[in-house]
Amino acid sequence: MNHLASVLAVLATILVIAPLVAIFIDLVYKGTSSLNLNFFTKIPAPVGEEGGGMANAIVGSAVLLGLASLLGIPMGIAAGIYLAEYGRGTKLSNVVRFTADVLNGVPSIVMGVAVYALVVVPSKGYSALAGGVALGIMMIPTVARTTEEMLLMVPNSIREAALGLGVPTWRSMVSITLKTAMPGVITGCMLAFARVAGETAPLIFTAFGNQFWSTSLNQPIAALPLQIYVYALSPYDEWHRLAWAGSLVLIALIVVSVSLVRYVTTRGVLKGAS
């Protein structure tokens, strides 16, 4: 029984790691074979034509993620500051924290539907702005919670030192406490960023996707995950290849940011501070 259990545990681990390895091998193998300069410089070719790339989708994703960060990061950090600095231990902050965790668990497709009703219907059209709002809202809870956790790690002596010098409270929070916790806060922002970078569901009926160049905020805009979705379900081999290449680019982006985050956190975020 003892040995059997050990073997089963090892077997389970291998079974779990196998798909990950398979996904990465397939991505690299199928992605690199169709990744070329055209992919980064050309817009999608019409059906049946060779070539074409995803330049517009890459730029579109950048626009959407920029919008999302503009909305999600400041609001998330501010909420985190409230939770850690003003609301420590109060009932209100407990409820806010709980709501943030719940919001984190709301399916992204529901977020898409809500933003459709909230932004797309009143403005009478799919737009980059709506997509940015949907992604931005999804960033807020993650950013808020990590900011809070990082601020709680800042030693009180630093706050007291700042206040003792006569620095106004708000100034000490922004320039001293937040600055000390900055590496950790950036980590949280990047995690949130990496998470929404791959989101497709909230974009289907907010940003909608676009086969042409567009950076206008009130027009439908292309996005990398959306393009992968459309191409994966298409019946054309050429488009399947582009979908693999797009996935490789997307994954590379995410893996690099997650590894960076891990590198920063394992080195001890607040080593210099304490």
Binding site: M1, P19, T99, I109, R171, A243, I251
Partner: protein, 349 residues
């Protein structure tokens, strides 16, 4: 605060700061520090402090506002079908956009069954991985493995879907499904015809996707079990497996249930990968190999082409139901995990 306001008029600021601490006495003879000069050039801190506090509070409350706004928008936009079909919406199985007859039962069924398939596959594996990582794994390997499982969690849903379409589905159709049909066709769950895409494929890809969440949370709960528990069981002459079963799993069971429910919450709302492999068919069939649809997948696949108001309202109502269900599931899971990792953990009971 009053001190600060007077500062610009009196040049003796450093002296006034002197009582604060011993260090200040050293600076008393020197000119004011750059920080103070910089601060003096800024405005009234009483107003700034108050305003800052209010802005932070507003942002914290915005999280509430967002949840309330989502709920409100969903209810308002689905009013048409809410009033027209009432509760019958969730027990009717007709999905006929042309005749405007909508029943969401096939999607509720699809969501439940695909999540159940995912849990049946994922939970034993996740617990196995957690046991391996906490109790058996050499330290060097542990870091690599937990990093790999983290990466698994970071892969976007759409990439899982792409991989599932081109690698997993052919694999299932060619090798695994025939075996299942041969062995288990008597249950009625695995019967031909087999298209590869369908409920089972969706369950498998969901299992792969929720594994990292369940296993990392289970691992957390298991590490929270105090070592004294393990030592006590070992001292009674238990083998390692008995120690894990009685000392660790028994104490961590509530937390494990919590993490499983959290994984369930993710599986219920998972959209893209499922939408890409489930086959999008609003039917209820006993065979897991038949195409089906889930609540999330039907919204993703049909929303953009839903042109008339009733159709759209029906899809939004499905979204509303999904929203409520995932909130309830998440609250349950959070409470359970929280009770174990924060409250009195793992006492011998």
């Amino acid at each position: 605060m009053n001190l600060r306001i007077q500062e610009p008029q009196t040049p003796r600021t450093p002296d006034q700061a002197a009582p604060v601490g011993g260090l200040a006495a050293v600076t008393a003879s020197e000119p004011a520090s750059p920080i103070r000069l910089f601060l003096q050039s800024r405005g009234n801190s009483a107003i700034a402090d108050g305003a800052f506090r209010w802005i932070m509070l507003l942002c914290a409350l915005s999280i509430f506002a967002i949840v309330a706004l989502i709920a409100n928008e969903l209810v308002v936009s689905s009013k048409l079908t809410l009033t027209k079909f009432g509760f019958k919406f969730f027990v009717g199985s007709a999905w006929d956009p042309v005749n405007e007859d909508f029943g969401a039962l096939p999607f509720v069924y699809g969501t439940l069954v695909s999540s159940l398939v995912a849990l049946v596959i994922a939970v034993p594996l996740a617990v196995g991985v957690a046991i391996f990582l906490t109790e058996m794994c050499p330290k060097a390997l542990r870091g690599i493995l937990s990093f790999l499982t983290e990466l698994l969690a970071a892969i976007p849903s759409v990439v899982y879907g792409l991989w599932a379409i081109f690698v997993l589905v052919p694999l299932l159709r060619g090798y695994i499904d025939p075996i299942l049909i041969k062995l288990l066709s008597w249950t009625g769950l695995f019967t031909a015809p087999d298209f590869g895409i369908g409920m089972f494929a969706a369950g498998v890809i969901l299992a792969i996707m929720i594994l990292p969440i369940i296993s990392s949370l289970t691992r957390e709960v298991m590490t929270a079990v105090p070592y004294s528990q393990r030592e006590a069981v070992l001292a009674l002459g238990a083998t390692r497996w008995e120690m894990i079963r009685m000392g660790v799993l028994r104490n961590a069971r509530i937390g494990i249930v919590g993490s499983v429910i959290l994984g369930l919450g993710r599986a219920l709302g998972e959209t893209m990968a499922v939408a890409m492999v489930i086959g999008s068919s609003p039917t209820i069939s006993k065979s897991l190999l038949a195409p089906a649809a889930t609540m999330a997948s039907v919204i993703a696949n049909e929303f953009a082409e839903a042109s008339d108001d009733t159709y759209r309202s029906a899809l939004i109502e499905i979204g509303l139901a999904l929203f409520l269900v995932t909130i309830v599931v998440n609250i349950c899971a959070r409470l359970l995990v929280w009770a174990v990792t924060r409250g009195a953990p793992a006492r011998a009971t």
